[in-house]
């Protein structure tokens, strides 16, 4: 999943620039296959610098969700968020998008897919982008 969002990343190391656009990356241990997000250098299982940077599939299921009625900096309430289990097997916290009305659209266990979108502004007024997940038709 690649995108060409406006602004700067909410956290730089979540993303990688490619000629086709921005993508979200994780570390995978080339020895034991474990995934880590965000990227890191050393695999705690193999105790070696065996990591390779890999793009995240962006496909997963919604473990659980909630809706915040309190704002955060540039994020206007109400907004939805949840834990997502990715196809790769690891879990990730994320904002949820394209899912209103929340309590109707969002279901525990539903398939979701990753997008890169704007997320408010930082203290200096820079537009931020981040990854989010939205409901997906894809059951695979």
């Amino acid at each position: 999943m690649k995108a060409k969002p406006r602004g700067i990343p909410v956290v730089k190391k979540f993303f990688r620039e490619t000629p086709e656009g921005i993508e979200v990356i994780a570390s995978r241990c080339s020895r034991c296959g474990s995934y880590f997000f965000p990227v890191k250098k050393v695999c705690p299982h193999c105790l070696d610098e065996t990591m390779e940077e890999v793009p995240i599939s962006g496909k997963g299921t919604l473990i659980s969700f909630s809706v915040s009625y309190d704002g955060l900096r540039g994020i206007k309430p109400p907004y939805a968020f949840g834990y997502v289990k990715l196809k790769e097997g690891f879990m990730l916290f994320s904002l949820l998008t394209d899912c209103e009305p929340f309590e109707e659209k969002l279901k525990i266990g539903m398939p979701v897919e990753m997008v890169i979108e704007e997320m408010g502004e930082d203290f200096y007024g820079n537009v931020l982008y981040t990854y989010k997940f939205r409901p997906s038709e894809d059951q695979s």
Binding site: I63, S66, Y69, M91
Partner: protein, 386 residues
Amino acid sequence: MRKTAVVGAAQTPFGKLYERDTRDLAEEAVFKALKDAGARPSDIQVAFVGSGGMDPTTPMMIGQIALEQLGIKGIPITRVENACASGSNAFHLAWLAVQTGMYDVALALGVEKMSTPTPEQARMAMRLGGGDALLEGSMGLFPPGIFAMIAQIYMEKYDCRREDLAMISVKNHKHASLNPLAQYQKEVTLEEVMNSRQVAYPLGVLDCCPISDGAACAIIASEDAVKRFSSKPVWIRASVQVSGTYEDLDDLRPDTTQRAGFQAYEMAGVGPEDIDLAEVHDCFTFAEIMHYEDLGFCNLGEGARYIREGKPFLGREKPVNTSGGLLAKGHPLAATGIAQVYEIVQQLRGQAGPRQVEGARIGLTHNGGGFRHGDVGIVTVHILER
């Protein structure tokens, strides 16, 4: 294991105490704990000071500055920061210091100022600092949201309804109405909780602990040193601290609290059935339901029924959060863990007044701190006996 006891304990009033600062809150708690023990500042040999540092004016080496107010100086003093478990962690380290045999008398203080400069700033700090700021806090997760997500799965899987969550708040406000040091000494109704302003679906504002200021202090002594003090000792039968394991769990239900509870029961040689009363970390209503199960007060999936049957109310089977808990007594982060100890000490000494649990012999405290990747960062459990 060396036999150790709490020989002094105290708590300031909790609340949004705009006119008070870290120093005078600490001064009051330490002064009252020394008086309670019949101790002199020079009796204290080592001290640990919990501080979440929520107030931007909280200085580095706050331990030295806070304790100097009462003339406790020259000795080793260490600040402990472990999120909402900072206070109980300071208490655990004070206990550990006496356990080593190196010291006979140790002091644990927890102090937190959250209402200044503004509660909004405190809430923002909690979002970014209450857990994994980089990965979760900066992306919109905040403490009520974490427990809301766990509650959602739980309520889908087990017999637990919205009103069961609300009943926790009703109970703890009812208990707090009997506690002159509590932030909210007014009862609330089930309807008020269920209709309270939404914070994180399904949790409303009355399902959430407040922003609070306050301090609490405890003095611990070895068996040999207990006789130096005039108070009735309350024995520390278990003191346990564990950390989260942050596994990828589909049910967001890690075993961190269970591990802490199990280790504490083993250390004390007692079981959940022996606990007469408990102070548990009810940061949000749902959390208390989950902790009934984690601490073995009931089976997995039966937490909601436990509150529905009224068992944790004062005067019933096993009163939980007789102080009002975090929800109604208030939650000045680093003060909370030691305030829990204070409540149990009052109860075991028979000094809890209108909220006294008759015949209480063994009490438990459970304090959690921080959150990341679906797991709690720090859990401490203490078991005290008269």
